[in-house]
């Protein structure tokens, strides 16, 4: 039996893990991988204490500092399959069917790329539908590409594609919302075509994706652009499917927490980081929230000895 099980390996989870170990709490940390979504950043330039650090290096630093702690058990390469209450304890089942029990659980498994949920998106994932432009833009060499989403992530994807694709179609629901610095950059390029006030209706092709269908907002008339790659950059969604029955979620499906303590609606379960309904999703603040959660868990467990 553990005092605390931490679910996740991003900034919130690592902040929590380091503090829990230093409080000598018997702690288990379960994660698929370290770093969370910060890994996707080519360069992090606002992490306080570092002028500039790559996402990959940041993940390595987090893992290294966690592993320096003595009193923490770490399982990597697993995901969570179930979280159930067992009397005063909580039981966690992982993807290898191992079960663990603890007096407290901290949920910090973050968020993932939001999907459009249109026909063809799942079928062509990796076969023309992509979510990591930094990774997969080079595969668009001498090909036509589309980017869906007009925020910073969408505009960054266009910039990532510039050296490779012959034609880039940017499809946005409203107007461009990304930073002016990116907008200026892409408007200079003749091969970038911006389609405003449109909604993507489906992806089509044969073995690989070949066409992105869309229509003007408020119209049913479908048009298409030819593209061998479509990069979906429409934001993040929290990984909360597993907790729909046990924890109170917000309308946007984030875990509702008390921002002073990071406690969820269920006694014995805390949450921190991008998975919560807290405002402003930042690496710096996520670390702080993970720590805040652990200090509150420590206090709570001390009281209930």
């Amino acid at each position: 039996m553990f005092d605390l099980i931490i679910l996740g390996g991003g900034p919130a989870a690592i902040g929590a893990g380091v503090y829990a170990a230093r409080k000598r709490m018997k702690t288990l940390l379960l994660t698929k991988e370290f770093g969370g979504q910060s890994v996707d950043s080519a360069m992090i330039e606002n992490f306080i204490g570092h002028n500039s650090i790559s996402g990959v290096e940041f993940a390595r630093v987090l893992e290294a500092q966690l592993r320096l702690q003595e009193d923490i058990e770490i399982k990597v390469g697993v995901t969570v399959e179930a979280l159930e209450q067992q009397g005063d304890l909580w039981r966690v089942t992982d993807s290898k069917k191992n079960q663990y029990e603890a007096r407290a659980v901290l949920v910090a498994i973050g968020s993932r790329y939001k999907r459009l949920n249109v026909p063809g998106e799942k079928q062509y994932e990796g076969k023309g539908v992509f979510f990591c432009s930094l990774c997969d833009a080079p595969l668009m060499k001498n090909k036509k590409a589309a980017v869906i989403g007009g925020g910073n992530a969408g505009l960054e994807a266009v910039v990532d594609l510039l050296p490779y694709a012959t034609e880039i179609h940017l499809l946005v629901r409203g107007e461009l919302k990304g930073d002016p610095i990116y907008q200026e950059r892409i408007f200079k390029e003749e091969k970038v075509h911006v389609h405003r006030s449109v909604t993507v209706s489906r992806f089509a092709g044969s073995e690989f994706m070949e066409k992105v269908y869309y229509s003007a907002l408020g119209s049913d008339e479908e048009q298409f652009v030819e593209a061998q790659g479509a990069f979906v950059e429409i934001g993040q969604m929290p990984n909360t499917e597993l907790f729909e029955k046990t924890l109170t979620l917000s309308d946007s499906k984030h875990i509702v927490v008390d921002p002073r303590t990071m406690q969820t609606s269920a006694q014995g379960v805390w949450a921190a980081g991008d998975i919560t309904d807290i405002s402003y999703k930042q690496i710096n603040t996520s670390i702080g929230d993970g720590i805040k959660a652990v200090l509150n868990i420590y206090e709570t467990l001390q009281k209930n000895l």
Binding site: K32, E33, G35, V39, D40, S41, A42, S54, G55, V56, A59, R60, V76, G77, V78, S95, E125, G126, K127, G128, F130, C132, L134, C135, D136, A137, P138, L139, K141, F208, G229
Partner: protein, 76 residues
């Protein structure tokens, strides 16, 4: 024999390569950004275009899936 198909700036490719190095696993790195034939080869092997693709003695892993890598190479 471990082969990784990667692109230059792909963070998960770098994480996978670092992971192999850390565990003394020898690997061959093929940058598909610079080698069109290798890119075609990777797409044929994996049935998709995303990187990284990792080939461990013929078993194909798409993405840096540490759980699967650990299992096949008996790491950890």
């Amino acid at each position: 024999m471990v082969t990784i198909y990667s692109t230059t700036h792909c963070p998960y490719c770098k994480m996978a390569k670092d992971y192999f190095t850390q565990h003394n696993v020898e690997y061959k790195d093929i940058n598909v950004e610079q080698d069109d034939a290798a890119a075609a080869d990777m797409i044929k092997k994996s049935g998709q275009m995303g990187v990284p693709v990792i080939d461990i003695d013929g078993t194909i892993i798409v993405g840096f899936d540490r759980g699967s890598i650990d299992e096949i190479l008996h790491l950890q």
